[in-house]
Point group: C2
Chain length 144, copies 2
């Protein structure tokens, strides 16, 4: 028997539209601070701790490791991250967030969170909580 939401758009279409909208809102916020989308993803991924490996960092943000290099070059050149060889295994480069990087990340995140608040302003509080809860459950981070 047909469900009440049988004629709704597919999840893929809904999510696609929403991602586009979020990106449209987010890009100018980051650009105002001189940060590109993927650079911000790198900074955010490093917040919880240094990345032991660039390949692991690339996997964490869902990007190809060869494409990550340009971002790291940019960020390192601005003194926002530091690449240092792992003393235990000097093939690896440990990527860490510098104090400047952490400060910039905090500013970016505040802007992004404010944008998200505005986006979800019309959604009731409990629906919003359920939305985020579901999102966190269905889109788990790749590292675990």
């Amino acid at each position: 028997m047909p469900q009440p939401d049988d004629r709704r758009d597919d999840l893929g279409a809904l999510l696609h539209r929403l991602v586009r909208r979020v990106l449209e809102l987010e890009t100018p916020l980051l650009a105002a601070r001189g940060v590109e989308m993927w650079d911000y993803a790198v900074l955010a991924a490093l917040e919880s701790g240094p990345a032991q490996t660039q390949a692991r960092l690339a996997a964490a943000i869902g990007r190809d490791k060869t494409r990550l290099i340009a971002s790291l070059d940019r960020l390192e050149g601005r003194g926002l991250v530091a690449r240092e060889p792992d003393p235990a295994d000097r093939r690896n480069r440990i990527v860490t967030l510098t104090p400047d990087g952490r400060a910039l990340l905090a500013g970016c995140r505040a802007d992004v969170r404010a944008m998200e608040e505005g986006l979800l302003a019309d959604v009731p509080a409990d629906d919003r909580a359920a939305f985020l809860r579901t999102l966190l459950r269905v889109a788990p981070p790749p590292a675990g």
Copy 2:
């Protein structure tokens, strides 16, 4: 004061991961029926009624009108959609779903819906309802 979810990933990151996952699950389902992702989007957009204009159809699925043409050629060649000049304004091509197209769409949608069910299987029913409700509210269709 910091909110409880202050350290969560941004909406953009969460949505990006989820879209990737949905696409990974959806692509093989559609490929099994010989349909590409954007072709399916076209069929789904035509379900509610013919498109009066190809440009309007492109806007409805969030695609450039020049990129739509290849999809329409493919679908028309398989007899899934029909392009007919608008008798009122012969510059326009009215795109309609053929019976074959409607049947294929029904099959694809059933597969996709089953996939979505599996994806959300671990989510409680009320959270799932709130998730879809929020999604529909925050990602409205472009046409209105």
